[in-house]
C-alpha cells in the first residue's frame, strides 16, 4: 500500500523543470500516477514545438480575458495608492504623485498593529476550523448512508444566501439582549456574552460566522478529492486489517494532501478578502476590536462620508502582497513535496 502512495508523489518530480508550481500543484492533485505515466510518454518530446502553439491557442481566450479585466483594476489601484487624493482631485483626476506617503501613513496609523494581528488571527483560525470541520464532514458523508447525498447538498444552503442576509442573521442571533444564543446560554445558567459589542468577543464572533460560511466550500472540494481516491486502495488496506482510524491517517490524509493544499490556499485567498461579513456584523468595532485589512481598506474608501481612496488602496495592496506571500509559500511547499 505504502508504495502506491509514495509512487505518486515523486512522480510529479519528473515534470519538465520549466513548468512552475501552479501547474505542478494541479497535477499533484491526482498524484496517484498520472505524472509517472507522463514521464514515460514516448511521443511527447517530438510534438513539443507544434504542441506549444496549439496549447497557447487553447490559452488565448483566458490570456486576453486576464489582460482585459484584471490588469486595469490592478493598475488603477496601484495608481490610487501612490497619489495624494482629495475628493476634489479624485473627480478632476489631477491628484499629485506622492510616492509612498500613503503607505507611510498606513504603517504609522495606530490601527495598523491591531489590523495586522486581527487579519492573521481571523485568517488562520477561520481556515483551521473550516478545513478541519470540512474534512471531517467530507469523510463522514463519503460513507454512503441513507440521505447522505441530500444532506450533503443541504450543507451548501448557507452559501446560497446573499452575504448581507447571512451576516445579518448572525448579528441577530448574537445580539446581546434579544439574541437566541444568549437566550440559550441563559437557559443553561451561563452569563450572557456581549458577542458583538465587547472588545474581547467581537473578533471571535465574526470568526465563528466566517467558519460557518466557509464550511460548504471546504466540504465540496475535499469531498470531490476523496471521491478521486480509488476504492481499490481502501480494499487493499482492509485486507491488511487496517482500522478506520489508520485508514484515515495512512491513506486518506496523505492522498488528499494535494487537494488539501489547494483548498487551504483558496481558503486563504478568500478569507483574506472577507470584508462584507465583518462590515455588516461589527463594522470592525467596537473600537477596532475586529478590524482587518480588508475592512480597514473599505473603511478608508467607503466607510465615512469623506472617502480616502489613497490609503484605502494602499491597504488593499498590502492585502494583495500578503496573499502573494502566502502564494509563494504554497509554491515552496509544492516544490519541496515534489
Amino acid at each position: 500500500m505504502a508504495h502506491d502512495v509514495s509512487a505518486g508523489v515523486p512522480a510529479s518530480a519528473s515534470a519538465p523543470a520549466g513548468a512552475a508550481a501552479g501547474a505542478r500543484a494541479a497535477e499533484a492533485v491526482r498524484g496517484r500516477g498520472g505524472g509517472g505515466r507522463r514521464g514515460r510518454d514516448p511521443g511527447r518530446p517530438a510534438r513539443r514545438g507544434r504542441g506549444h502553439w496549439t496549447a497557447w491557442a487553447f490559452l488565448a481566450p483566458i490570456v486576453i480575458y486576464l489582460l482585459a479585466f484584471y490588469a486595469y483594476p490592478l493598475y488603477r489601484n496601484l495608481d490610487l495608492s501612490l497619489r495624494h487624493y482629495t475628493v476634489r482631485s479624485f473627480v478632476q483626476g489631477n491628484a499629485p504623485f506622492s510616492g509612498l506617503d500613503n503607505y507611510r501613513d498606513v504603517f504609522a496609523d495606530p490601527a495598523f498593529g491591531p489590523a495586522l494581528l486581527h487579519t492573521l488571527t481571523f485568517t488562520v483560525v477561520s481556515i483551521a476550523f473550516q478545513f478541519a470541520i470540512g474534512l471531517a464532514l467530507a469523510v463522514f458523508f463519503a460513507q454512503n448512508f441513507r440521505l447522505s447525498a441530500t444532506l450533503r447538498a443541504l450543507f451548501l444552503v448557507p452559501w446560497l444566501l446573499p452575504l448581507i442576509v447571512s451576516a445579518s442573521t448572525w448579528t441577530w442571533m448574537l445580539n446581546s439582549d434579544s439574541g437566541i444564543v444568549n437566550y440559550a446560554l441563559e437557559l443553561m445558567h451561563v452569563d450572557p456574552v456581549n458577542w458583538l459589542t465587547s472588545p474581547d468577543w467581537a473578533l471571535t464572533s465574526v470568526i465563528i460566522a466566517n467558519i460557518w460560511i466557509g464550511i460548504p466550500f471546504n466540504l465540496v472540494v475535499l469531498y470531490s478529492g476523496l471521491q478521486a481516491i480509488p476504492a481499490e486502495v481502501y480494499e487493499a488496506a482492509s485486507i491488511d486489517g487496517a482500522t478506520s482510524w489508520q485508514r484515515f491517517w495512512r491513506i486518506t490524509f496523505p492522498l488528499l494532501r494535494p487537494v488539501s493544499a489547494i483548498t487551504l490556499l483558496l481558503g486563504l485567498v478568500y478569507t483574506l478578502k472577507v470584508f462584507d461579513l465583518i462590515w455588516i456584523m461589527t463594522k470592525g468595532g467596537p473600537a477596532d476590536a475586529s478590524i482587518t485589512f480588508a475592512t480597514w481598506s473599505y473603511r478608508f474608501s467607503f466607510g465615512s462620508l469623506l472617502p480616502e481612496f489613497g490609503p484605502g488602496a494602499a491597504v488593499g495592496n498590502l492585502l494583495i502582497v500578503m496573499a502573494l506571500f502566502f502564494g509563494l509559500l504554497y509554491i515552496r511547499f509544492q516544490r519541496r513535496q515534489a
Binding site: A19, A20, A21, V157, S166, Y183, I320, I331
Partner: protein, 271 residues
Amino acid sequence: MRYARHAKTALGLFFTAVMLFPVYWMINVSFTRDTDMRADPPHLFPLDGTLEGYRAVFDQQLPYLGTSLIVGLGTVILTLVLSAPAGFALAKLRPKGGGVLSFVLLIAQMIPGIIMAMGFYAIYLRLGVLNTIPGLILADSTIAVPFGVLIFTAFMSGIPDELINAAMIDGATRWRTFVSVILPVSRNAIVTVSLFAFLWAWSDFVFATTLDGGGDAQPITLGIYHYIGNNNQQWNAIMATAVIASIPATLLLILAQRYVAAGVTAGAVKD
C-alpha cells in the same frame, strides 16, 4: 450494520440541523411581525406570524429572480468556455510559460472584489455596458474563472495520457480530442466548476451594486436592497426574499450533487 447505517443517518441529520440553524432563524424572522423582531426572550417559532414579508416579495421580487437565474447560467457558460480549454492546455499540453500563467491566475484570485468592481465601473461606463446583464455576467465570471482553471488543471492532469494518445493515433486533432475525449471524462470537474460559478454569481453583491445598481434588470441581491431604506429596514421582507431566492438554487444544488456522485461512480476516469 443496518443499525450503524441508521445511526449515521441520525448523526448526519443532527449535523445538518446544527449547520442550518441560522437558516431556520432566517425563515423564522421572515414570518415575524415588526413589533416582535426584538422580543426578549426571542420567539423560537413565528406563532404570531405574518405573511406581510412574503406578500411584498411575491408582488415585487419575481423579476429579480429571473435576472439572477440568467446571470447565474450566463456566468457558468462563460466560465466553462474560458477555463476548460485553459485547464486542458495547462494540464496536458503544458506550453512554455504555462507555469507563469498559473501563477498569474492564482494572484488574480487575490484581488479584493471591491477593487475589481471600481476598475470595471470605469471600463463599463466608457463601453456603455453598465446596468446590462452581459456586463454583470462578465464581471461575475471574474470570481469563478481563475478558480475554474485551477480545478480543471487539477482534474485533467489526472486523466491518463494513454487516453489522449489513443485518440491522437486515431487521427483526431487536439481540439477534437479535447471535445470528445477530455470533456466527457471531466464531467465531475465541469459540474463542480459550474456549481461554484453559479453560486458565486447568485450571491454576488459587490459587482451587482457597483455595475448594475441602476438597471431595470437587477439580480435578487439588489432586490433585497429595496427593503433597506434610508432610515428604515423591512427585515421580514428581506429575509422572505432570501428564503424565496434560496429555493430554486437549493433544488439545483441537490440535483447537481447527485450528478457529481454519479459522474464519479461511473468510473470513466478510472484507469
